[in-house]
Amino acid sequence: MADESEVSRLVRASERGDEAAWNELVRRFAPLVMAVTRNYQLSTEDAQDVSQTVWLRLVEHLGSLREPAALPGWLATTTQRECVRVVQRGRRVQPVDPHSDGVLDQGTTVDPDDAIIRAELRQALRDGLAELPKRDQMLLQLRAADPPMAYEEISQLTGMPIGSIGPTLRRCLDRLRATSPVRAYLATLSADEGKGGGRRELAGVD
């Protein structure tokens, strides 16, 4: 549980004016914000403007985040809203055909709720992986590659007996599930219960 407060610590430190903590927050979560904007087919400029607005707004909200560990959810939701606003305004760069409906054909292929949850999940997985021992990280990365590296090759690379790679991999995945970012992500999902909407349905059960 100690690490679960790492985000909290960064939020609190940023609130007190610690710029290094802020920079670390941005470094961690900028991919999440940009991942959410990608669901809206914004121009690059618009996506960057949305990102900037979201971070500017977070600066003002550092003190009012009720639960700093819920920051990923706050960022994702705020980004989503700002994207919707920009979509409604229209695209800055692309010319608009007056005969086509500029709104209805946007982002119809992706359920935003699903996309946001997925973006948060991937962020949690990246953060969780970074917390594991280097050995675990390497094994998981080799097997998560596309295509995954064969056990024989992994054995040659690492000196692990082939027969032990499978069980070790399973333990690594369990450790990944148990990391604080992944647990915090799951806690956010449960915390959203009661708000209704797609999140709860997607959250599954423990």
Binding site: L56, R126, G204
Partner: protein, 160 residues
């Protein structure tokens, strides 16, 4: 555009294979570029440390767009309405090609400054009924800084 588990983001129930596949997708996602990160880090310089300044929150309801605006919308000439609320002051603005028209509520005179990440873009007077106007703002993030005598209110940032 994605790996396994579409429509079922239920990590607790995932098999090892599903989790590995999602981890792979996560690691292959393009990270945010340096420019975006630097700009976001620079946002910290806009921290408002003065506790006497009241923050006016963007009203989520104001984002609802009437049906006719949707039909008309998303193009040149589209009108955007935003409302910011605080305990003692609200600000409503409309933005279109001609610029920004706004009103303070309750109606009162004051000074309103348009801020972007480049700094103040100009200050105008709100008249007796709280109305003020700005020329079209530059694209990007903006906020309004409202001063009534010794009192100061500042809106959340929005993208225009």
């Amino acid at each position: 555009m994605r790996g396994k588990g579409v429509g079922a983001v239920s990590l607790p129930g995932w098999t090892d294979d599903e989790l590995l596949a999602e981890l792979g997708e996560a690691l292959r996602e393009v990270p945010a570029d340096d420019g975006v990160v630097r700009a976001a880090q620079a946002a910290f310089t806009w921290r408002t440390v003065d506790a006497d300044i009241e923050l006016l929150y963007l009203d989520a309801d104001a984002e609802l767009v009437p049906a006719d605006a949707l039909v008309r919308g998303a193009g040149p000439g589209a009108l955007r309405t935003m409302a910011f609320h605080g305990e003692r002051l609200s600000v409503e603005i409309e933005i279109d090609e001609a610029g920004i028209v706004g009103q303070l509520s309750p109606p009162q005179p004051g000074h309103v400054t348009l801020m972007t990440t480049d700094g103040p873009q100009g200050t105008v007077e709100a008249d007796e009924v709280g109305c003020f106007t700005f020329p079209p703002p530059p694209a990007g993030s903006l906020r309004l800084d409202c001063r009534m005598g010794a009192e100061r209110f500042i809106t959340e940032w929005v993208t225009v």
